[in-house]
């Protein structure tokens, strides 16, 4: 009973006329919405009246800012535009924007969920001058490691592409960068689905690679690891023979190279004056012997076991495993003697 009477009353309320009083403003309706607003300034959008097209550099800047756009296609297109612009600049002339700026903006896109964006970002980085890449290897390595541990299989396999490119363009810098050797090896072990502790080994299977990706991906992982090991552990003593020849040129002076101004960027990086303290995983390992020691002590047994298993599988994986074994044997030859 209560509800119907109430409803009636409410209905009546809708049709009641507000009483007007002399000298008072008209009462506002119940559903009145205030549309007034306050603003310090009002900007009227207008089309550009400029007759000339915007300059290349301003367009470049505009596209650089578009890289933070939400839309994937927008990002990809902007990346493509930037790539073509950079490719079009003749060598020797400066880029429209300094390379560090470009790298810092483009680099996070290496782990972007969209495949197109990732590929385009890599293309853009490839188009940049190698010297710039070399001085920013540290961030790129960290980003690659993040990609290698990513949950998505696509991003993981893409991170291998990035690593391959990095090794080709700036191999030494990659393996010498802080965490570049020990941590990347760890990432590989995780990527291959290996376990470090041999306790539970009798049930161990390649969980991650078998969960997705398949044989092809596994073979690719092994190949990249082979490349990584070859770059990281290769002895450069033959290169020092050339140095000895140069020594002769300086003849009365000895060890002159060491006393010259350093040519690499951040030559005292190993001191780590301003960064967070490093542990043994993120430490720099600039010396080949250092890297070898780390390799032998931490990951060689695991990797050799994996090679043994993979070789048994034959096919593409087997071939890749054989390649890896050869690489390891090749670079470790001198070390075993010592």
């Amino acid at each position: 009973m209560g509800s119907s009477a109430k409803k009636k009353k409410e209905k009546k309320k809708d049709f009641q006329k507000p009483k007007l009083k002399v000298g008072k403003t008209k009462p506002k309706a119940e559903n009145f919405t205030s549309t007034s607003f306050q603003a310090k300034s009002i900007v009227l959008k207008q089309q550009s009246l400029a007759v000339t097209a915007p300059s290349t550099s301003s367009q470049f800047l505009h596209h650089l800012s578009l890289l933070t756009s939400k839309s994937d296609t927008q990002r990809r297109d902007s990346l493509a535009y930037l790539t073509s612009t950079i490719a079009a600049t003749p060598p020797g002339t400066p880029l429209p924007q300094p390379a560090p700026t470009i790298i810092s903006i483009v680099e996070p896109m290496l782990t972007h969920p969209s495949n197109g964006v990732r590929q385009q970002a890599l293309k853009l980085l490839i188009s940049l001058p190698h010297t710039d890449i070399k001085s920013h290897v540290e961030r790129l390595v960290l980003r690659t490691q993040a990609g290698m541990t990513n949950l998505s299989n696509d991003i993981r396999s893409f991170a291998l592409d990035v690593l391959e490119w990095l090794l080709e363009t700036a191999g030494d810098e990659v393996v010498c960068s802080p965490g570049g050797w020990a941590k990347t090896l760890d990432c590989f072990i995780g990527l291959l689905g290996l376990k470090k502790d041999a306790k539970a080994s009798w049930t161990s299977t390649r969980t991650i690679s078998s969960s997705g990706g398949g044989e092809k991906l596994y073979a690719k992982q092994l190949q990249t690891l082979a490349l990584f090991v070859r770059v990281g552990l290769a002895d450069r003593r033959d290169a020092s023979a050339k140095g000895a020849a140069r020594e002769d040129a300086w003849f009365p002076l000895r060890n002159t190279e060491q006393h010259m101004l350093p040519k690499v960027s951040n030559p005292y990086g190993y001191l780590n004056l301003f960064g967070i303290p490093r542990n043994d995983k993120t430490a720099m390992s600039e010396d080949v012997d250092d890297r070898r020691r780390i390799f032998v002590s931490t990951s060689q047994p695991t990797i050799m076991a994996a090679i043994y298993q993979a070789k048994g599988e034959g096919g593409e994986v087997g071939r890749a495993a054989a390649q890896l074994k050869k690489a390891v044997a090749g670079v470790m030859k001198g070390f075993d003697d010592i």
């Binding site: 009973m1 119907s4 810092s104 903006i105 680099e107 996070p108 896109m109 782990t111 972007h112 495949n115 961030r139 960290l142 980003r143 490691q145 993040a146 290698m148 541990t149 990513n150 949950l151 998505s152 299989n153 696509d154 965490g179 760890d186 990432c187 995780g190 689905g193 376990k195 969980t207 991650i208 969960s211 997705g212 967070i276 993120t282």
Partner: protein
Amino acid sequence: MGKRKVGALEKVDADLTSLQNKIKRDPLSYKDEFQSQHNQYIAIYDLFMQAPGNPSDHDSIISLRDLIEFIAHVSDCYPDLTAQFPHQLMGLLGNHHEVLEPELREKIVGSLVLLRNKDVIDSPTLINTLFPLLVSTPSKSLRALLFSKILSDLRSSNAKTTNHRLNRTMQDVLYNLVTSDRTSSKGLWAIKLTRELWRRQIWTDAKAVEIMKEASLAENEKVIIGGVRFFLGGDKEREEAAEEDSDEDDGPDINKLRHQVGINKKSKKKDKMLKQAAATMKKKERKKGAPHPLNFSALHLLHDPQGFAENLFSRHLQAAKSRLNLEQKLTVLQLVSRLVGLHQLTIISLYSYFLKYLTPRQPSVTSFLASLAQSTHSYVPPDALTPLLLKISNEFISEASSTSVATAGLNAVREICARQPLAMTEELLQDLVMYRKSKDKGVMMAAKGLMALYREKAPEMLKRADRGREAAFQMRQGEIKLGRFGHTETAGGIEGIELLEAWKEEQRKLRREEKGLATDDEDEDEEAEEDDAGWKNWDAEEDDSDDSDGWINVESDGDEIDISDDEDEKPPVKKLKLDTAEANKENTEAPVEATAAEVKEVLEEEKRVSKLATTRILTPADLVKLQELRQQASISALVNRKSKKASAAASADNNRHADDPLTVAEIEGLAKLYEKKTREEKIAMAKGDRDEKHVSTTAKRKEKKRAEGKSTTNKEKARQKNFLMTLGKAKRKGRRSMVDIQKGLRGHIDRKKRGGKRGNKGN
């Protein structure tokens, strides 16, 4: 390239919450999955640490946040893998809290608390991480979050038993915070935290009070006032909180639940709910029966109150460079005067300080008057108070001054004299008492109050006509004598012991009469018997007495703490014994030339003190009787008073606890009534303390029934039934068959004959 199909397994692994759930169920099997997530976390963490304040992409923040939450939730499953995790979080928060993205920052704080709850880190570590941030961070939201987290951590670690170690370290940290930099306002956090913990009765010890004491002596105004306010209001707040706790709603209605279980579908969940409700009820019952926790007020826990009061006075009130405004000064003054009154401290310069402010034109002079009265006690030299009294009477109390001013002055004089009657001079008193003829009611009442006070304390100072019959009689008897300054009524004994003695005597007489023996014979056996009965009965009595509180063992920590509730409570029996013994010794050893008068005085004193307490051990039964007699005596004293007004006034005086502060309202007295009031105040006064909302009788009755757990009547159910549900029946009624209609009609006729449904056979 088209969208790649994602396998079901892969999809599940990417979902951190479901993975977290699975890991919690079976940590060993999901170790690999966790390892890969942990690797990802480390990679993103390293990337993030390159520029914590200015991360290059927003996605990594989100993923870092999610991963931190995930790892914090399962870190107790893999202690070896996540050993570094808490330290990383602490480092991140400690070093970069100013630049971190707010949501990530909150997540880190939450994760640290979670780790604490999982016992991965301990409380001191957590608090050592969070507290420095609380003091230093500029972000308001973070401060609020940290404060609540620290508080809840302290509460939870003190929930079951008091965690003395944690409390001590925390108190040390707060103490150092307050004392290290006295000019900074950071001490406010120590005050907030201590006050909150005090309110919740988690900290009730002297160390917490010490923190507040140091805060009150700080140099920052906010900190000073925070500390002072704590002393003035902290204990009341605590009491109120305790009361609120005790009369919370009674939890689930167990009858209703039981009823519902009988009707509704039975399920394990319902069963569990019922059990839980029963458990909570039981807990509540037990809580009700538990003895009241013994808490001392902050003012009593103070160490060295004299030094504290002196410091407060000299630093904040007397010092010329003190930057407190009047209101703040008044608050400090209130505390100083309470301390002086409560602990009977001696700060002579305090009274001359008041002299400056005692003029009617001084803003909020009534609170100065209240403070002055509060700071008076029986050990204040009358010489210090007399000028003040003169000034008050000169400035406030005259025919020319307004009535409210005169009332305030008279009330103040009365309150001062109640505490130190010696301060008054005879002429002044007689002058002031004349105001009882005033036309104004407030002035008249105040003057009469003063007169009544001196009738009790020193009637000889009043004019003969003003003394009253009773006081004059007592004066003639020599019962009332105003002692000299410094003279205190010591000893006494047990309050009301003479009543008990009289009662016992009476009882014995009655018994003797029954037996037919001589009334004044002593019978040791009988007495012993009686004693035994007293002890024996006791246990039984205690068992069935509901209102008797359980005993609480309070271990003394060496120093004596005065816990007397009453001003005129006498010291315990033991002291009395010693005193009398000493007196006796004095008496015997007194030199021969001691005057006869002295001896007589001592003997008189001895006679006054009842022997009962010194000769026998009082049984618990005796004590119960004593309490009863005491109450009876006080009630009869009230009843026997001549006028109702006097008894009301006396009860008002008795109601005030010695610890309670003297309020401005008491000084203002009736004058407050004449002030012009706002409409709201008038309405509130007219309403009194009646219930705000009007509720109809029917509604009340219904509510009562519902509370009793009774059901509604059928009629009511029919009335409340949904209209649509009744439609079907109504329709059916319309097309009843002829037979049905006939039945109905016949029934009607039948009922008519019977006279109603039940029939009124009586008529």
